[in-house]
């Protein structure tokens, strides 16, 4: 199979070249933020760090972190590193919790953003002659306009349908002959179901690729979407604070997302020590912007948990690959020294078609932590025989053990018996303290 690169020189560059470029750009961006962003100057002064102390990626660990709270504290424009006359676009993120933040882009920032999105489009096999149906929302949210920027850089046709009105989406997809679609994975699932209900044979449509991101999704969802829309589905990663979609992108191997390392440095840090973990080990995802002019963040703590690998990818790209975020650091539990995330348990429950209503009971027997996973029984999982239910409990225990790395007791409980707050089940009961 042909490998599709948009900028092959950098996408497949030798690791030494990438690291050299990162070092050069890191020293430049640190100088810029020290001069222009009061928060960074204050933090670096406090830590006794001068821009001259940063000579390359090996010095990254000396730099202070940036938190989401910092962005709220400096709202709206306190983190901007250029005068407003150079800012050509604003985007905002409300975040799932708390006050919104606003980010800015210069013309160069938009061009770079377009380039990294174009890398994803090309990796998904999209060419200049294709039409990309953009069903992400257009507006302050980065999804719609971010994908459009990539399409413009690549020179393919974007169809700015924006979100909503599913019947119209399907009509446009058929009438305009969309070759690819970009939207959230949950909306792609819904589109697939709606197409089937409307009697549309998706195998007869030109649609062949989908680019999905902006929310967590599972491999099961990917298979479902690929089947119902008859496409290959690609996972694009991004966050408003850093750029928007395109911070990392997936190749046709579908084994992790390549981080655009000429523009960003990714670190995976141990949640306690804040030191880098080894490849494949879980930790907090932290990003540093290398080329951003308007809103360059240094060591931004995403609070998302993930892993990276430097292993060579079959596609030929040399950028490191990151996993999908596996959960929020705030939800992390340490059980018998192992980091456990509720999202890992949710994935297993979903794979086994069990109820999403579960709770974790963490306790301590003597010196040993214990974990019990209680799951509500459903009509679909209930059986008239004890052995069937016990078998399911054992299967769940086995799967959890291989996913979490620690043993858990599994128990089915009556439907509706797990307490809910604001419609959501209360997930964790920690009795250790």
């Amino acid at each position: 199979m042909k490998n599709n690169y948009y900028q092959p020189d950098i996408e497949t560059a030798d690791r030494k070249i990438i690291e050299k470029l990162q070092s050069k750009r890191l020293t430049e961006v640190v100088k810029r933020v020290y001069e222009r962003v009061p928060l960074y100057r204050a933090r670096m002064d406090e830590a006794g760090i001068k821009p001259e102390d940063i000579n390359g990626v090996e010095d990254l660990g000396k730099l202070p972190f940036t938190s989401k709270q910092d962005l709220r504290d400096t709202y709206p424009y306190g983190m901007f590193a250029v005068p407003m006359e150079d800012v050509v676009r604003l985007h905002a993120s409300s975040g799932t919790t708390g006050k919104q933040i606003v980010v800015g882009y210069t013309q160069n920032d938009l061009d770079n953003w377009g380039d990294i999105v174009a890398r994803q489009l090309v990796a998904a096999g999209i060419t200049k002659s294709d039409k990309v149906h953009v069903a992400y929302g257009y507006g302050l949210f980065t999804g719609g306009l971010g994908i459009a920027e990539g399409a413009r850089r690549l020179g393919c046709t974007s169809i700015p349908v924006s979100s909503g009105n599913t019947a119209r989406q399907l009509t446009i997809m058929q009438d305009f002959c969309s070759d690819a679609i970009a939207c959230t994975p949950s909306y792609a699932m819904y589109l697939g179901e709606s197409a089937a209900k409307a009697g549309i044979d998706t195998s007869k449509l030109p649609l062949r690729a989908g680019i999905f991101g902006a929310e967590p999704w599972t491999d099961e969802m990917r298979r479902e979407i690929e089947k119902s829309l008859n496409i290959k589905a690609y996972d694009i990663y991004g966050l408003t604070e850093i750029m928007g979609p395109g911070v990392a992108y997936e190749c046709s191997e579908q084994k992790g997302m390549h981080v655009n390392e000429d523009h960003f440095i990714i670190e995976i840090l141990d949640p306690d020590t804040h030191l880098p973990v080894k490849d494949g080990e879980k930790g907090e995802i932290v990003f540093t912007c290398l080329t951003k002019e308007a809103f360059p963040l240094i060591r931004f703590r995403t609070k998302d948990i993930g892993t990276i690998t430097h292993e060579k990818c079959k596609c030929g790209r040399t950028f490191v690959r990151m996993s999908k975020p596996m959960g929020r650091i705030d939800d992390m539990l340490i059980i018998r020294g192992v980091n456990v995330f509720p999202s890992q348990i949710e994935t297993v429950l979903l794979q086994m078609n069990l109820s999403p209503n579960y709770q974790l009971i963490v306790d301590r027997k003597g010196v040993l932590d214990t974990l019990e996973v209680q799951v509500e029984i459903t009509e679909g999982t209930f059986s008239d025989t004890i052995s069937d239910i016990s078998r399911l409990e054992h299967e769940l225990a086995d799967r959890l053990k291989s996913t979490l790395g620690i043993a858990a007791k599994t128990t089915f409980v009556a439907a509706g018996s797990i307490a809910r707050s604001e419609g959501k089940a209360k997930r964790i009961i920690d009795r250790r303290n």
Partner: protein
Amino acid sequence: MFIKQLSIFVENRQGALSKIITMLSDSGVNMRAVSIADTQDFGILRVIVNDIDKALDTLKSKNVIVRANNVIGVELQDKPGSLSKVLGLLTDGGVNVEYMYAFVTPGNLNSAYLVLRARHNDKAEKILSENGIKMLSEEDIKNM
């Protein structure tokens, strides 16, 4: 011939069982037979009732996980060896009994009734009917 049995998931903790039984009796459903199989964590309550539809509606409206399934009801003659005869027929026919329980009715103290479920229920039913074993119908249950 089969009769319908309700299987209900109950947690193995205080009050869980009586809650379900109360739901049924409050709705005016009469229980002909009750059995419980349990493990350390949970149990399966199995009941034969006079009005299966009403019982199902009642439980489902209260968010209880319940399933109606076919079981075989056998009327055992009041003489020694009648139970072992039934079980012997099934064993000879290569049918495994998954569970069984017995009940009597105040109206007919000369008979005992057996409820059983086999891994291959259809095969078990066929063997018993071919050997002239008297089996209960839904009608019989209603009229008990």
